[in-house]
Symmetry: D2
Subunit: 407 residues, 4 copies
């Protein structure tokens, strides 16, 4: 066993931390406030991406800290999942940092889909500008009218019509839909109801300016619009795209989704671990600097025990996530199913607890936008639902566990 | 022992439920959406109170369901704390319902202060229009620069200057400050540093249009502005008010605060219990109506156990709160300190757990504004900080517990 | 609402506390040690009841503190369930106290069965000496070969043979079976498999000296034999008793069981609440008297918060149990099903938590027999299984909850 | 990063598992029952070591599975801490297995003390027979009269008298004291009160047949004597041993204790992880084989979620323990203090939870001696106190955490 990061990971981590220290942390609060003031309302048509973010993206690209998530050494840096994990953690410490390095969801997952399953034309048209950070993308899967925890419930209809596909349906929680640069959606829908349960759905590339595509509204999530990205509700009415927009083939939706999810969960979870580390740091600093009843708050009551519990929970969650990443790299997603599902439960719940503690240590300031804590709390809460609720992942873990004892 | 509500309580509760059923629930979602669309942004100067709310207030007043919180039978209905408890619970089921019956915080607490500690002139000027629901009030206590969990940290300065008082300082989490009808603040500050620890502070009535009073901004709390009420940051610069605006006397701030808090905690907690009941109801309905993996969601995994746990937690929390109310009525706040502090810990934490479960049962819908759950979650989170964080109240409970065994 | 105990309850409670203070607490540790030294081994044939216990029983009887559980004013004191509740709590503070007042399980439940469902001959033969405390009884229901959480699994066979009943089967967790005074068992078994699911079982009085009745062994429960009572494994081989030993009628087993359980759960739970109060008291005293790192242990880390949490949990659990008792008295067991199941979950779990904390506060002493804490811990753990595991009771609570929303 | 065990570890683990499968599991229940029947009483003078255990020890020694804990390649197998970790886990699956491989506490810790800090004569006299498994040893540190969580409280007195040391005091929780082969105690006591806080204590080798050494009694721990080892209370009255029995030097007690604890915690924790794995396995098997309400128990209610939670908790705890082991091997105990303290909290609490779940899945059988679960539960509970209570270790973790942010 060896718990040390590889030399590659250490090199990138060192450079990333230096970049964060020089360029990101110093402007974090100011950018958050500016964004909050400009964009924190429901009229997504007026949302803007801050020019400072665009500038930071240029700097990151110049520094070679770009597309770090993609394990291709020509198109990107060729980092393994395990090597990228600590980088995702570092980015997760600041709510908007991933975008700066072109490593933000759902673009990362969409780029992976195009990279692994897109044909050359699809790559040229969409993957290239996405990798360049020129456009943004969304993933339209969850639907308002059915329990989407069971993805086979999906009702959005995809039918063949000559050399076109016609799509009708309604999606929501389409993250990033409000962003001015969002240009392309990967839409998943029911195309082959005659097939077996996991071969009935397809994924189709739908440019957002296609007639019949309509953004109905942006949803608040835990009270926040998460502008300028947003979580959108989208209607698709007789939307027609050429068949060349189909990814991989009819009925291949679940096969693609499976491939998309493994590394994506590592990314989500490592970012969440970064958020938890940040929350713990903030809690300690606040607790040491504020005085009540004659003592620094952190020395009162059970506060020090809570700090220890946070440290122990974070370290355990990180190790499990790193194990999952290492298994993806070495034996593949299919043999890492327990770990991939386990971290999807463990990490967001851990973040929720750690942030809750950090908020409590901050008093009222903790729920305000002066600190990233309320944002982390929303991130944790949503992550317990997004990409499969806790319950579905626990179901996977227990199913695999029972299998060990079946003859 | 007798766990039955009094005939008076049953009568009011019946009428209140009928009113809610006829007038409030049917418009709940529409009003929430309208308010959200109009007011959910940081420019509080543009916030408006919905005319529908004003109309509902008229109807409630006409129905004799008005100022139910105030135990005075001339100015109000003369309900005891225990009789009001189930009414507060019923109101708590809808996020904006308390206001309709003129029973919303912080006005209730402020009216109690004026009622118990104000002189006749103060009552005539401020209590009368507050009881009529014509104006609204705020309570300015928490400060951004110190740990306000220890109220003796308060730094806002009140000095005597001839027949005036001069006030300098900064407050935040001044709830209701953004409301167009907010006219008067009760400001607590340090006036007599030479006195002993709990006689150094005073409470002063400060009209919000007094020169030197400035609303600096509205804070989001858990991502939400809670418009049109809002949580404000307020600066007081050389603010001068006549000495007649002083409540009770110099150095009486803590004495007044103590009197204000007992019944106020019952109100907060019973509303939170109502919110928890509502969340449980929504969870059951959603869980029964949505299907995944071939079954209603509520029948999957451990969901039914979670329903049972919610029921058990709510019932216990309610009983403890009712005991606290009954003790306030029969032996007084001073002999109910354990229960009053205990419910302040137990109830918001219970609500947080129950709502978290209900959100999980709703999937993505649970964190959106289509349901009141995200609002209840924010209410619970904030209530664990407001009016003394959990830790301060646990400190009180344990202190009283240890006292039993000291010689 | 009125949370005060009735005058009757207050009177009995005062006298009971005085008796405990004068006669029980002073000898508690000595009796526990003596019993432990003499009886703590698996050879139940050598177990003895301490003569001091017999003496205390005489004193309790003389003081009119006898059979307090039975709501009959001729045979006993005629206390309601709510009036008995605080008395059971007081008894629960000392592991062996209930027996002194002839209020120990399973004799109480068995006496209730005979009282409510036995005929005159059965009462004369068995209820009279039980009420006099001259003999002891056991209840044989749980079986080793099936999941007894589902009572309809019961396999012990009861068949009619002329004017006799013949019984074959195996039972375990037959509490009290090792006691030298145990003379009679109420055996529940499958008699009418042709009937519907809840009318297939019967209860039969089986004297323990009937041929074919064999005590196979005593089980340890959480490491302890709980001597001189014990939890026994019992085989019944062609056991024949006259039909007059049948209680109520063939197929009436579940009907009797239901009637037996309501008040029995109140008793169990209130005793557990007494145990929790005692554990909390011991924790505080130990925590105040032992010093580590220059401070009384109770002031270290989060210990005071844990004291507060224990107080809040106990008070809530007691209120819920008192509500259940009051409902049994006023509207009957059938309308108190939610509460009766809820306390069966809430109280033992609460006790487990509180005792765990108290043990931790005691260090090594906490798990030894120098304090009653390890005994309380075992009591809590077993109570989460006995008389229906947590899961079955949560199932009942959720089922009743969902029913509210079914059309 | 590399999460694979080394080839050495894999080789030993394979052979150990084969040995367990062939020799230990098949006799586990029978040996447990025999031991329980013979030894489960307080008269430790009659306790016997089962001859089957002695035979198994011979077999293990012959198989080269002996003294695996000791990282010396001449005296033992030369396994690193990380390589030994999975072996300790495997042994932890059966309550009595460690002894078979001469890897049981406290002998392992005592052997380490002698190995690292003993002189040649001490090694020859005591380490040699201990390594041969011919005798057993105890460690006498905890005292009944003081809070031993603060080890500086220790009062047992060690004074110099010519070329002898005289010892007076009282110890308890001296594990293994009841074993017929226990011959030697390492006694820690206060020898140099004039020194600074961590240089006041010494460790002395005291043969158990030295005049003045008296076993006062065996303590039950969670109801169990843990025979034939036992937890003893020991009085030392004017006990005289030659100065050559002093380990390392006067005042070196804490220095030795520190060195003893690092690897010892890994051993304790890995055994506890093995116990948790075993409990989970038993829970799954029982849950699949017992039927209630028409389904295997494991499919009822939230049981499958609990299985998943156990898997996730165990895997996280194991990873943290393995990290601690790896750090001990690579950077040393001093740089692994956070992890060493963290696992001492995390693992026993995890085991307590997992076993509690497994017991619940077993019903009454779970608390009996028919399964090792009650034993594991006691192990977990005691481990939360032994070798520093949770609170002390959380204190260490938080102290190190805060240090990161101090200038």
């Amino acid at each position: 066993m060896n718990f040390e990061y590889s030399d590659t990971a250490k090199d990138y981590l060192g450079r990333l931390k230096a970049f964060m220290a020089e360029h990101v942390y110093p402007v974090e609060q100011q950018l958050a406030h500016t964004n909050h003031a400009q964009n924190n309302h429901g009229e997504w048509q007026r949302w803007q991406c801050l020019p400072e973010i665009k500038l930071l993206k240029e700097k990151a690209k110049a520094a070679g800290l770009w597309n770090l998530f993609l394990p291709d050494s020509e198109l990107a840096q060729g980092l393994s999942c395990a090597d990228y994990a600590p980088l995702a953690e570092e980015m997760g410490r600041v709510l908007f940092a991933s975008e700066i390095f072109n490593c933000n969801a759902p673009d990362t997952g969409n780029m992976e889909v195009l990279y692994h399953f897109g044909n050359e034309a699809q790559k040229a048209q969409w993957l290239t500008p996405l990798l360049a950070g020129e456009i943004r993308s969304v993933f339209a899967m969850t639907e308002p009218d059915v329990a989407s925890s069971d993805a086979t419930n999906m009702q959005t209809n995809i039918t063949e019509d000559g050399d076109h596909l016609q799509i009708n349906g309604r999606k929501w929680w389409t993250t990033g839909l409000g962003h001015p640069d969002a240009k392309i959606a990967i839409v998943m829908g029911l195309s082959n109801p005659e097939n077996d349960r996991h071969s009935q759905h397809s994924m189709v590339l739908v440019p957002l300016d296609t007639p019949g595509v309509k953004i109905e509204r942006m949803l608040t999530a835990c009270g926040d619009y998460d502008a300028p990205y947003g979580h959108g509700e989208l209607s698709l009415t007789d939307v027609r795209v050429p068949k060349t927009n189909l990814i991989m083939g009819m009925g291949k939706g679940f096969a693609i989704a499976q491939g998309r999810l493994g590394p994506g969960r590592i990314h989500h979870c490592m970012r969440a671990i970064g958020a938890a580390e940040r929350a713990l740091e903030l809690a300690i600093k606040r607790g040491q600097n504020r005085v009540a009843f004659g003592k620094p708050i952190i020395k009162l009551g059970g506060n020090l025990e809570k700090i220890a519990e946070a440290r122990m929970a974070i370290d355990q969650a990180r190790l499990l996530t790193e194990l999952a990443a290492w298994k993806i790299d070495t034996v593949g997603v299919k043999h890492a199913m327990t770990e991939i599902s386990a971290i999807k439960v463990v990490v967001p719940n851990m973040l929720q607890q750690v942030v809750d503690m950090a908020i409590q240590m901050h008093g009222g300031a903790g729920v305000s936008h002066d600190f990233p804590l309320a944002g982390f709390a929303a991130q944790a809460r949503i992550l317990r639902l997004a990409d499969g609720p806790d319950e579905v992942h626990k179901g996977m873990v227990s199913r695999l566990e029972l299998k060990k004892y079946l003859k």
